[in-house]
């Protein structure tokens, strides 16, 4: 172990050199000697750190503090204040870059991260999530201190409004407006809820965010509580996320011990505490009114709105409910300012969005991208394209509530409005890429099976309608489709969308409707030609024995319905009327003599 207390990295790129970084280095050594600190500080010279406009640059570790626009006369201040008094010098801190630089200093040379922008996931993968010290060292809880120090609740709400942040759970409702509505209602008791009931198949954004940086969520919620005048926060998270729950519990206990939760937070008059409520994993409980019922101890079922939770939510008190990712944006907006935040993204969608990139793509993973990036950039530049030289077929956004977009929509910018216009939704962040070997009818069936299962049964359109739709889809994939089925699906789908009580039913038909819209010919092939071009729907396959057959008789032996006939050493034959398309002969044949058609 060495006994150094700080590591200072000085940018030695040509641009910084021009700005006299050498003089800065000499001055730093002089000042360190003067204060007898030379033995406690390690100095490194680095190549260009990419912040030339702000040069000369100095990074001080631990904490990854980046100072820029330095002049020789500033060095004494840095030594006195940062190294001796151990405080940050806000005038020198580089605002625009430092949040990402912490992350990108470690990961920045990797292509996968090049197009990303890490705001909510800024600490994920670089700090120890179980250490409040780690979070504090990267300016953790400073946003909270700033709010309590110098902002009124109205100013906090104004800042969030000005940032243009919209709900990241999928709906895209302006967050600041939601806060304002909840703040306006006069009530003794109010609640703040974090919706961590993540349930889309293949989505894990919230889980990773909580597991990687739980304190950010807490900090966002405490600030929210201050803004709307609440003293009680609840995190609703599903029980099947044990590690995320464990880390949240530790974070809450540590935050209490340090005085960020509890009475008179940081010496102010504001008191706030957070507790965790576990959900049983019902998809519908991601819907805010169903979630509230579940916390109250009732069955997780939605109710009609209005009244909105802002007026009458948990225990009929005004309730502010935001998604994990939305909360994680708050500390950054407060620290960096609404102007900075709203400079990222498109006109109506500000900031970044986290996606769980999955399916037939080379780099599967969790990504955070600025709004306005195109689907093509995500899939081909970050995702690295489709593996095994297969052709792209569709991308599914928004999970079971979203739609499948084919190739002509690849240049759609990722923002709330553009995705809706293309026929899908932003959703909470699932993104599944599909190649040519995917059957679109089967995919639609998969998602509908999911929502059908998760339908709470309260309203008839969703309970009965999705069931009928699923039956039709099952028939089609089994080769029993009828002419008119497509129209029936469309009629039912549109009806369910219009008549269902909550978002689950209103969006459940989307995967079916969007695949009919974009891949109608595949539905028609399934119904009229009894054919699945992707070779996925088992029952539509035909197995044919080719002349490669040597007559070994193995297929005949394994066939469970005795559909295969033939003499030894002669080509065998499959009786299609008997064949149940189980595929056993195909997988057992040692001579690749059986072909799927």
């Amino acid at each position: 172990m060495n006994n150094k207390e700080f590591v200072i990295i000085l940018c030695n790129g040509s641009s910084c050199l021009k700005n006299k970084s050498n003089d800065i280095k000499n001055e730093l050594i002089k000042q360190l000697e003067k204060n007898n600190l030379l033995s406690k500080v390690e100095i490194h010279l680095s190549g260009c750190l990419g912040m030339c406009a702000k040069g000369p640059i100095m990074i001080i570790n631990p904490g990854y503090v980046i100072y820029g626009n330095l002049k020789v006369e500033n060095i004494e201040t840095i030594v006195q204040r940062h190294l001796i008094k151990r405080e940050l010098i806000s005038e020198f801190i580089i605002k625009e870059d430092h949040l990402f630089n912490r992350f990108f200093r470690i990961f920045g040379d990797v292509n996968f991260f090049g197009r990303q922008m890490r705001i909510t996931l800024r600490n994920c993968g670089i700090i120890n999530p179980e250490s409040i010290d780690d979070y504090l060292s990267v300016r953790g809880y400073e946003a909270l201190a700033k709010v309590l120090n110098e902002m009124t609740p109205a100013q906090v709400i104004e800042e969030v409004k000005k940032s243009g942040l919209r709900g990241r759970g999928g709906g895209g409702f302006p967050t600041g407006k939601k806060w304002e509505l909840t703040a306006k209602v006069e009530a003794k008791e109010k609640y703040v809820i974090c919706n961590a009931d993540e349930g889309d198949p293949g989505a894990f954004m919230d889980r990773s965010a909580i597991e990687g940086d739980p304190h950010t969520i807490l900090e966002g919620m405490i600030i929210g509580g201050y803004a709307i005048g609440s003293q009680k926060g609840i995190i609703y998270i599903r029980a099947e996320y044990p590690l995320a729950i464990k880390r949240l519990e530790k974070a809450i206990n540590d935050a209490r011990a340090e005085g960020f939760l509890g009475n008179n937070i940081l010496g102010s008059n504001f008191s706030f505490d957070i507790e965790i409520r576990l959900g049983a994993g019902a998809f519908v409980c991601g819907e805010e009114t169903a979630l509230i019922h579940s916390i109250e101890g009732y069955r997780g079922m939605p109710r009609p709105r209005p009244p909105y939770p802002a007026q009458s939510g948990l225990f009929e008190k005004p309730t502010l409910i935001n998604n994990v990712e939305t909360w994680a944006n708050i500390p950054v907006i407060i620290l960096e300012g609404a102007d900075w935040f709203s400079s990222i993204g498109t006109e109506k969608s500000k900031g970044t969005k986290v996606f769980a990139l999955a399916g037939n793509v080379v780099n599967t993973g969790l990504i955070e991208v600025p709004m306005g990036i195109t689907l093509r950039q995500i899939i081909y530049e970050i995702g690295g394209g489709i593996p095994n030289n297969k052709k792209f077929k569709a991308v599914q956004t928004g999970g079971p509530s979203g739609g499948c977009l084919p190739e002509q929509y690849l240049d759609t910018p990722v923002d709330y409005e553009s995705l809706i216009k293309a026929g899908s939704i932003m959703g909470s962040g699932g993104m599944i890429v599909m190649d040519e070997n995917t059957c679109m009818v089967n995919i639609a069936k998969f998602f509908l099976e999911f929502t059908q299962n998760e339908s709470c049964g309260k309203c008839t359109p969703c309970r009965e309608g999705t069931k009928r739709m699923l039956e039709i889809l099952e028939r089609i994939t089994e080769g029993k489709g009828e002419v008119g089925d497509i129209e029936k699906l469309e009629r039912l789908g549109n009806m369910i969308k219009k008549a269902s009580l909550c978002g689950l039913g209103q969006s459940a038909p989307n995967p079916v409707l969007s695949t009919i819209k974009n891949f109608r010919e595949e539905y028609e092939e399934h119904i009229k030609d009894r054919k699945c071009r992707a070779g996925v729907c088992q029952r539509l396959l035909r197995y044919i024995i080719t002349d490669k057959c040597i007559g070994c008789g193995l297929c005949k032996k394994v066939c469970p319905v005795k559909a295969i006939t033939g003499e030894p050493k002669s080509i065998h034959k499959i009786d299609e009327t008997k064949c149940i398309k189980c595929g056993l002969c195909y997988s057992k044949c040692k001579f690749s003599a059986i072909k799927k058609d």
Partner: protein, 119 residues
């Protein structure tokens, strides 16, 4: 009475001090991915390999920490080795056997094992 901003500055200074006391300024900092996904891919065993090497005194002057998920699902378990002033080294698909090799070759002999680096 101290203002909230003064209090947070003090708390941060204390936190930084505690991190340093835990050995943050060691020559190597090793971060092992320990999110659900990483653990499912086998990272807990990888962490154990590093822990044991430190306990047995094979590894000295290192700071070992867990971290959340950086997002490289298909390359997990991942680890990072950070040496101040050098470009951080990121390894993917690390098994306990590979971890042992990283200890022997990278951490003890300074050789970066190029085949396992994430680019």
């Amino acid at each position: 009475m101290a203002t909230p901003l003064e209090i947070i500055k003090q708390k941060r200074a204390q936190a930084v001090k505690r991190i340093i006391e835990k050995g943050y300024l060691s020559r190597f900092r090793i971060y092992v991915g320990m999110a659900t996904c990483e653990i499912a891919a086998g990272s807990a065993d990888v962490l154990t390999v590093f822990k044991e090497a430190i306990e047995k005194g094979i590894l000295k002057d290192v700071y070992l920490s867990q971290k959340g998920c950086a997002g490289r699902c298909n390359l997990e378990p991942t680890i990072e080795i950070i040496e101040e002033g050098k470009i951080p080294v990121k390894y993917g698909k690390i098994t306990p056997e590979r971890a042992k090799e990283i200890i022997n070759r990278h951490l003890l002999k300074g050789e970066i094992i190029k085949e396992w680096i994430i680019n």
